[in-house]
């Protein structure tokens, strides 16, 4: 086993080790602590015979498990940087390690394998880096909660599954990671399972993701049907050959590859919360803040974007599917941003911002700018994690209050958090000066918008237009958040006021690397990510059939996003700081439109009417009329009565007398000899 294999495997499996160790600690039952049932584990498992665990208090155990998982994650993150440098710039280049055969059944073969190319290396670096910071943050943030160890174990497991997903070299292993991420999101969103809202949000996330997963699964079946293999290498190599194939249904036919790509995209829509399957994302705020940061920045929602980029050699041959992706992404970007304008829950604003930014990444992929899409994914990971964790710091200081109407004037009391929030918002809004310096989002968002403009297709232009609107709204709601939270008069009660304080450096410390990333990631990376897919950086990890190099983007189109962002920032600052009466008046004047947006376009209500309520009725019909009245009556109930009768008959023979048994044996022997003779002659 070579050194690279060991290092590459270590990055993926260290988080799993962390999860297992923390899980082991969670199962052990230290002294003077809650009972296993209260701790959320179904059984206790005494590890007190290990000297280190004997007599350990709950607090010590929590910190121990937290620091252990954080340490493993930090090691993984450090190794990930090393791998990234090696894969993207070094001699190493892309490589695949086959760890073990998984199974071979019929024609389906699958290996456990790790595929490290530039795309994977970037994802691994982002995922482990963000996750390490979130782990460190969570050690302090979750202090005193009764299931901290379980929480840390879930966080590590979440990261492991995401790493499995991004390092897969076949669709099946990717699906393994995909489902694992879904499972962990369910566990973490519903972490406070005694709270009905959290429990419901967990289930909602799981169900909505099941719908997407179903599409993904059908897409995988389609790939197998088209290519006869699930390995990426085979699929990518043969993608050009299947272009002409069609699926025929009755007298209609459709392009097979487009259909498969659209099905795969349905999976991506579920995980990445695109319009239609996005309803779980805002509710996922019910989980603890570190979970929100992890879901929104590193794991889970980026999986869909990654999948489209990973399968770019496939999607490139299905232009119709790409058009759909671009339009869905662009519409999501605008719709989500508009909802963000009206929300008052600090975490929800950021959640809708994530959804909007994911839409941006998707339309970048739709116009074949996969590099820009991944670039935005990476920069977004930094500033979104920063924004969430800073919001967590605010919530922590406000004793759990999340409504911005009950905040205000906090900047004097928590200057560091305030500064960090500014940095995050500047990066999110994409502020910068062309050719000099810009915050992370400036480079990635501009790259996407320019690519959309330069693509030349109608949907490229539509996406560009919608993207500009989204950019304006993004800046607007970001400063609305800052002003409402940190400026103006304090609107919280005296009881809360007594506790408002700047968070400790244990909490703020992990934000510093994230802030550095939010400031510098774009400046450092934009040349790499903008390079050609088959060039020196990407080394063929992405495929784009039509380059944009030749297209000329007018200066106006380049400057428009920045101008709109500055406009949104200024307008929002003026409105909420100087004239807070105007937004209230506008909300009343716009009436129906405002209510539509404020109620998130009534997606939840419509789904409730269309699916959530009718389905149980349909189920009840099949249950009572179909299952009980027909199938059970003639099937299981009837058959089992017969089976039990036969059983009783067989039992009569079992007399307990040895000579009866011997007699049966002798008879059987005679019968067997006779039977053999009949068959032979």
């Amino acid at each position: 086993m070579s050194m690279t294999t060991i290092i590459d495997s270590a990055v993926v499996f260290l988080p799993l080790l962390g999860a297992a160790l923390a899980g082991g600690v969670a199962l052990c039952n230290p002294q003077n602590t809650v009972t296993p049932a209260q701790a959320g584990v179904p059984f206790s498992f005494k590890l007190n015979w290990i000297p280190a665990f004997a007599g350990m208090t709950k607090e010590k155990r929590d910190v121990f498990a937290g620091l252990l998982t954080s340490l493993l994650m930090l090691i993984a993150a450090a190794l990930a940087v090393f791998i990234f440098v090696d894969v993207a710039f070094g001699e190493g280049g892309a490589r695949t390690h086959v760890l073990a055969p998984w199974f071979a059944m019929g024609g389906v073969k699958a290996n456990w394998a790790l595929r490290f190319d530039t795309l994977t290396a970037i994802m691994v670096m982002v995922v482990t880096g963000i996750s390490a910071m979130v782990h460190l943050y969570a050690v302090t943030y979750m202090k005193g909660d009764k299931g901290v160890v379980r929480f840390m174990a879930y966080l590590s497991l979440f990261t492991f599954f995401m790493l499995m997903l991004v390092s897969a070299d076949n669709l099946l292993q990717m699906f393994f990671g995909w489902e694992g991420v879904g499972l962990c999101s369910y566990l973490l969103i519903g972490y406070w399972y005694e709270k009905p809202a959290a429990s419901c949000a967990g289930m909602k996330a799981f169900w909505v993701n099941r719908i997407g997963d179903f599409g993904f699964l059908l897409g995988i079946f389609g790939c197998y049907q088209l290519f006869g293999s699930l390995d990426f290498d085979v699929i990518f190599k043969n993608a050009p050959q299947v272009v002409g194939q069609t699926y025929v249904m009755g007298d209609r036919s459709c392009c097979a590859l487009t259909a498969v790509c659209l099905l795969l995209f349905v999976g991506a829509m579920g995980k990445s919360a695109q319009l239609g399957l996005h309803v779980w994302l805002p509710d996922a705020m019910e989980g603890p803040t570190p979970v929100s940061a992890l879901i929104h920045a590193a794991t889970m929602v980026t999986a869909g974007v990654f999948m489209v980029a990973r399968l770019s050699p496939l999607f490139e041959y299905a232009p119709a599917a790409l058009a759909v992706i671009a339009i869905v992404g662009a519409v999501t970007a605008v719709v989500a941003a508009s909802i963000g304008l009206t929300q008052f829950d600090i975490k929800r604003v950021i959640a809708y911002s994530t959804m909007s930014q994911l839409g941006t990444m998707f339309f970048a992929a739709g116009v074949s700018a996969y590099g820009a899409s991944i670039f935005h994914l990476a920069t977004h990971a930094f500033f979104k994690a920063l924004l969430f964790l800073a919001a967590g710091s605010v919530i922590h200081a406000m004793s759990g209050e999340q409504d911005m109407r009950k905040m205000g004037g906090l900047w004097r009391k928590m200057p560091v958090t305030y500064a960090l929030m500014w940095i995050g918002s500047l990066a999110l809004a994409g502020i910068g000066i062309e050719g000099v310096f810009g915050f992370a989002g400036f480079y990635s968002k501009d790259m996407i918008l320019e690519a959309a403009y330069a693509h030349g297709s109608w949907y490229g232009r539509v996406a560009y237009g919608l993207g500009l609107m989204a950019a304006f709204m993004t800046a607007f709601y970001s400063w609305r958040l800052i002003v409402l939270t940190f400026h103006g008069a304090a609107r919280y009660d005296k009881h809360t006021a007594a506790h408002v304080h700047e968070s400790s450096w244990w909490l703020l410390g992990p934000l510093v690397p994230l802030a550095l990333g939010a400031v510098f990631a774009g400046f450092v990376g934009h040349d790499w990510f903008a390079s050609a897919p088959d060039g020196a950086f990407w080394r063929g990890a992405l495929v784009a059939l039509h380059g944009h190099e030749g297209a000329v983007v007018p200066e106006v189109a380049k400057l428009a996003p920045l101008a709109l962002a500055l406009l949104g920032m200024g307008l929002s600052g003026w409105l909420y700081a100087r004239r807070p009466d105007i937004p209230a008046v506008m909300a009343v004047r716009l009436g129906a439109l405002y209510r539509l947006v404020f109620n998130k376009y009534y997606f939840d209500e419509v789904y409730e009417r269309l699916f959530v309520r009718p389905l149980p009725k349909l189920g009840a019909f099949f249950w009572h009329k179909g299952d009980e009245a027909v199938i059970d009556r003639f099937g299981p109930d009837g058959v089992s009565a017969v089976a039990q009768g036969l059983g009783a008959r067989a039992r009569c023979w079992q007399t307990g007398y040895a000579f009866h048994y011997a007699f049966v044996m002798a008879l059987a022997l005679a019968a067997m000899v006779a039977w053999a003779m009949v068959r032979v002659w």
């Binding site: 199974f103 079992q654 011997a662 039977w675």
Partner: protein
Amino acid sequence: MTSILFALPEITVALAAMALLLIGAFRGDKAGGLVTSAAVVSLLAAAALVALGRESGVALYGMFAVDDYRRFVKVMLLIAAAGSLVLAPVFFGGQKSGLKPEYPVLVMLATLGMMLMISAHDWIALYVALELQNLGLYVLTAFQREEKRSSEAGLKYFMLSAFSSAIMLFGLSLLYGFAGGTGFDVMAHTLAQGQAMPIGLVVGLVFVMAGFALKVSAAPFHMWTPDVYEGAPLPVTAFLAAAPKIAALALLAVVLGVPLIAAASVWQPVLMALAVASMALGSFAGLLQKNIKRLMAYSAIANVGTMLVGLAALDPVAGGMSVEGLQGVLIYLAVYFVATLGVFGVVAGLRQGEALVESVDDLAGLSQAHPWLSLVLAAMLFSLAGVPPLAGFFGKYFVLLAAVKAGLWPLALIGVLASVVAAGYYLRIVKIMYFDKGSGSVLTSPRSYAHNCGLALATLFVVLFVLWPSPVIEGAHQAVERLLVP
């Protein structure tokens, strides 16, 4: 390699058994725990020795064969024997008699007999090895001799087994008369001449199969099984359910697949009849059982029936025994013995007050008293019922798939139906322990660390098999290919 070294694992087990017997003799009954631990270690060491072997060949004057197939089966056997020994201290510790040092020694000697059976390459070797394991098993069954049920079971087992041994020996003498020699090679060679099959050969072959049928408890030679399983002390039942099944089925496969392959037209219909009878009887008769050990006896009968389907599958092209069928049987054996030991492992530790838990209904409320244990038991039962993605599913899948490929789809169909019926009694236990209210008396579960580790390993195997099945699946494939494809 000199020929005696082929038998190094067997020699190790034999010497260890002698040494432990001496320790037991000198230190008396209080050495029971020590001797048991030492026996587990030496069995596992022998398993390691087997696994490390690479060379194949025939040794000891043509009596003793070693190859990949034998190694694979022996490793399973030794793990099963060690696993059943792990249950012993907890069980006997709660009994008046305590854990006597003879117990592990007898288990080792019976295991030695089984190892020799697996390696048999000659009818005489086969018979002697069979009797060695039988002797051990008789004594083990009657081990709690002051208990009426245990001694009755021992006597019953002895009588019926002796009866079948006589039948088998008679069959073997007929085979010898036909071939003119006792070696497997002679048999294969003579049969391959291609002459018409004399009636003596047919009768002899069927007699030998009848002997095997009793060993693997295939219906209608199964009748001793429920009584003996119920009467024997629980660790002995666990041992009986795992180890002899592995040895006898593996040996039956060798006998039918190698020296007697040319007589497939005789043994295939007989085997199919045994398989159908076992599957049908095992699954239906188990439905009404109240005693867990009796229930596991019927489970054994049904599972053996399914495995016989795999042995009955012939390669449609080459005409020999189907590689996939026998591979399926080995996989089936591996997942079956682990799940069976797991079930007994959970039950072995349970007490209701002072009394042993033997009735299915006693498990009511187990999930509240011991959630961790019930989880293990549920995993084992779901695996036995063949619910994917647990290990048990793959055993059934490979065996029945091979049967379909060999054209035996009616048998495969019966196999599927039988496992549906049998699922009824496995899942009934799960229902009782999770949904029925306990009687109020407290279920206690004293267990040793080794016991816990064994249960944990078995559970991990059953649950995680799907993630990394290739060692078993590929290992079985290679083993079988070496045996069947010359």
